[in-house]
Symmetry: none
Amino acid sequence: MENTGVADCRNTAGRPRCPGKDAAILTSALTLLTQQGFTRMTLDAVARAAGVSKATIHLRFKTKTELAAAALKTLRPCSRPPETGDALADLVAQLADFAATLTRTHGMSLIGTCLAEEAHTPELLAHFREHAVQPRRTAVRRLLERARAQGALAPDADPDALTSALLGVFYADHLAGRATDEDWAERAAAAVLGVRSHP
Amino acid sequence: MENTGVADCRNTAGRPRCPGKDAAILTSALTLLTQQGFTRMTLDAVARAAGVSKATIHLRFKTKTELAAAALKTLRPCSRPPETGDALADLVAQLADFAATLTRTHGMSLIGTCLAEEAHTPELLAHFREHAVQPRRTAVRRLLERARAQGALAPDADPDALTSALLGVFYADHLAGRATDEDWAERAAAAVLGVRSHP
Amino acid sequence: MENTGVADCRNTAGRPRCPGKDAAILTSALTLLTQQGFTRMTLDAVARAAGVSKATIHLRFKTKTELAAAALKTLRPCSRPPETGDALADLVAQLADFAATLTRTHGMSLIGTCLAEEAHTPELLAHFREHAVQPRRTAVRRLLERARAQGALAPDADPDALTSALLGVFYADHLAGRATDEDWAERAAAAVLGVRSHP
Amino acid sequence: MENTGVADCRNTAGRPRCPGKDAAILTSALTLLTQQGFTRMTLDAVARAAGVSKATIHLRFKTKTELAAAALKTLRPCSRPPETGDALADLVAQLADFAATLTRTHGMSLIGTCLAEEAHTPELLAHFREHAVQPRRTAVRRLLERARAQGALAPDADPDALTSALLGVFYADHLAGRATDEDWAERAAAAVLGVRSHP
DNA sequence: AATGAATGAGATTTCATTCAT
DNA sequence: GATGAATGAAATCTCATTCAT
């Protein structure tokens, strides 16, 4: 039987860690980091939300910064919507998932925190990039490449640049106060990929 | 014209306010707001940078929030690069100015602050929208409309959506850690407006 | 009219410092430093004893260490008992004053603090040396030199070494749990200066 | 012989204590007590230095104070330098050993801790007195008595007072920042016992 | 108006001690 | 017995705001 991860690495000595406390702390931290930002997130609040004492947090994370960074590492890569074979349709589904996730999790707020703290705490943006931004970009880019292979995009289209354009529509719309609901994904795809997708 | 802000609500009676101080305070506040974020920006630091006492700041702005909001109102609408008549070329110039401004002023950091504080202090994002985002969008949209009139864009192109796409490339690139220097504007325009701009 | 010190250095601007607060803080700090030692002395306790808020202390002293050092600087050089012309008698009086001062002010406790903190906070011992040890030594040495000039001590007696011996008796006696009251000074002088003082 | 301490109060039933740990804990505690003082010495640091867990310490010593007291009890009485028959020469050797020991073990720092904690934890000074001060005084006094018997000291010399004077020179010199190296012992003896020792 | 003083309400971090294997 | 986990109670320092000239 193979070692399947964290749950197995139990030392025999000492009082065992109260199970679930790790998760409770990280979840609470991520929630508060999102809702309040890094500086407003207090360890008191995290402890209260997680149902542990502050010292228990410090047992796991030497500093508040470490805690925040660890919380960001728990961001799961984007769910992969089922693929239909029609790359453009799949792309729109992926964009819709992107928008729904950002909306549901108040992602723009978390992005704001990472950007605002970049000067003081660059780890935040770094982890967010690695665990949230890059996986999403990879998924989008793969679909763009597939679409190009299917002839739905010009052969010289730059998948990375188009990825920025597609995802960027959301950021720009949010910043401008424009609606990002329902058929946002379709509108974004239409605008960026143009009439070529609806011949 | 209506009274639009705290700085105007002065009594005409009594000793007049030292005139240069308003500007010094707002400039210092905007700088620190950008560099440190809202929560890290301390009134002590603003006072020091402006060469005034903390109490002098409170004389003009009842709270720290009011100060930050007022500082954001001083954001000047984007400079308008000279226009050549070639709408697409002017558009690229406008985008280049956009990127240069954001880079020079650490605008992404300020954007982060406004997004991160949205829950607690929605005024920040509101003012940023009004004074920075909308003017820029208007300039870009006007050029897109002109390009469409010149036949350089499809007649059914949606200027607002394309504006989001063009500006959004910058946000997405920054967030992904992609380069946004030199010929960023040209690459963004090429990606979003496609081969249509280089027939 | 001449400037006579601290009390005159009032800036015209700003709220004037609450008089007596400086002294209250330093007095409380010195007392607590003596009674509790440096690490046990809390700023809360100092604030309470001085009747000010903690922040008021921090306004004057950036750190706890600075406060403790400043408190030690307020140690007044030893009182100079009146001199009779009989150098040996004056010396005994000086030693009696030394013992009385140490006893009354719990000086051994304060000495302990300075010694115990030497590794972490050498300023404490440095200030204690300058403001308490050296003045006392100077007074004792001067009397020893006078006694030597009067022929009451051998011409080759080393005043500095004898100063250490005389004052050291107190330290050693305290450390050994021996009595240091009433006629301690006479006994110490007799032991160190020997029969030579009572021919 | 009577039971003299905590470390002995073990149950004979149950798993026997790991034997080397007592010594490791006490040694580490004494070192840290000396280097950091009582309040700065943390049980975490003692546990780390001793290679045991904090709980293991509490198993032997109910409180931090008990641990510190027990550590002081392990102080060994002074080494007895070989005696030559010349009591004054032996005395100088004894003083040299005293100075060397205090210097090597940072004894003044430990003395400071005991003095500083006297109000809160009088056990510390009590144990230090019993295990370090008194043995040394006894050794010195014995040599002084021998010297007196040999005619090298005045018949009415008070050995206890002279002991305080001799050892006190070290305390006073250290407190004054005077050198206590190399020939300190000879200088101290010369100052206190006078030219009589070098006829 | 302008300023320096003063403060109450935290925020992060530390630590001796107790608990559960 | 030994250990790592858990915690309550501080302690230092910070900061937006108010006060007294």
